[in-house]
């Protein structure tokens, strides 16, 4: 049975998060790929046993995603009210 260590899975997560974020066109899809990238980052930090850095990094990544969501919805509502939507 071949042994896959966890850093290999983290590398796949980070690469898919980056390339997927490049290839998607809508902003909402890009933010989903950013969440995958953030998962990979925290996993890599935890592999090297920097646990307090992992706690702070996960907190900041996910709060950042939530703030970007609020901004995106607010932008689209304003665009729609002005009439210059898509």
């Amino acid at each position: 049975m071949i042994l896959i260590d966890f850093p290999y899975a983290v590398v796949v997560l980070v690469i898919v998060g980056t390339i997927g974020g490049l290839l998607q066109t809508r902003p909402i899809d890009k933010i989903l790929m950013l969440a995958v990238l953030g998962d990979g980052l925290v996993g890599m930090i935890a592999t090297y046993q920097y646990l307090d850095v992992a706690m702070a990094s996960s907190f900041m990544t996910f709060v950042g995603i939530i703030i970007m969501m609020i901004g995106l919805i607010r932008t689209m509502e304003i665009k729609k009210a002005k009439g210059e939507l898509h």
């Binding site: 049975m1 071949i2 042994l3 896959i4 260590d5 966890f6 850093p7 290999y8 899975a9 796949v12 997560l13 898919v16 390339i19 997927g20 909402i28 899809d29 933010i31 989903l32 969440a35 995958v36 998962d39 925290v42 996993g43 935890a46 592999t47 090297y48 046993q49 646990l51 307090d52 992992a54 706690m55 996960s58 907190f59 990544t61 996910f62 709060v63 995603i65 939530i66 969501m69 995106l72 919805i73 689209m76 509502e77 729609k80 939507l85 898509h86």
Partner: protein, 101 residues
């Protein structure tokens, strides 16, 4: 003075074969490739949830100490809140766009 940086191979010295990390890593690789390929936005959310479960489990398996368990808990609860926010905004953007039709 040459500073010995933290070597990732240090903890591998006294370990016999760990099947648990292999199983979880294989699951993560399979699911993330599946997430890249699907087109439907709302179908990607359950796949993201499986990835969250996997990473939260591995954090504790590699650091078997109370701080590792607390890190895993904080990571998992934050990831659940973020997935909730992403699903909410996918729904809201669909409503904003389809109201103009």
């Amino acid at each position: 003075m040459i500073n010995d940086s933290l070597n990732i191979n240090d903890k591998n010295y006294n370990r016999d074969k760990m099947y648990e990390e292999t199983i979880i890593s294989a699951i993560i690789i399979f699911i993330v490739l599946r997430l890249l390929v699907t087109q439907n936005r709302l179908e990607r959310m359950p796949y993201l949830n499986v990835i969250n479960f996997g990473v939260a489990g591995v954090i504790t398996l590699m650091n078997p100490s109370p701080l590792g368990a607390v890190t895993s808990m904080i990571y998992f609860i934050m990831a659940t809140v973020a997935a909730n926010a992403i699903a909410f905004s996918i729904d809201k953007i669909r409503e904003i766009e389809h109201d103009t039709d």
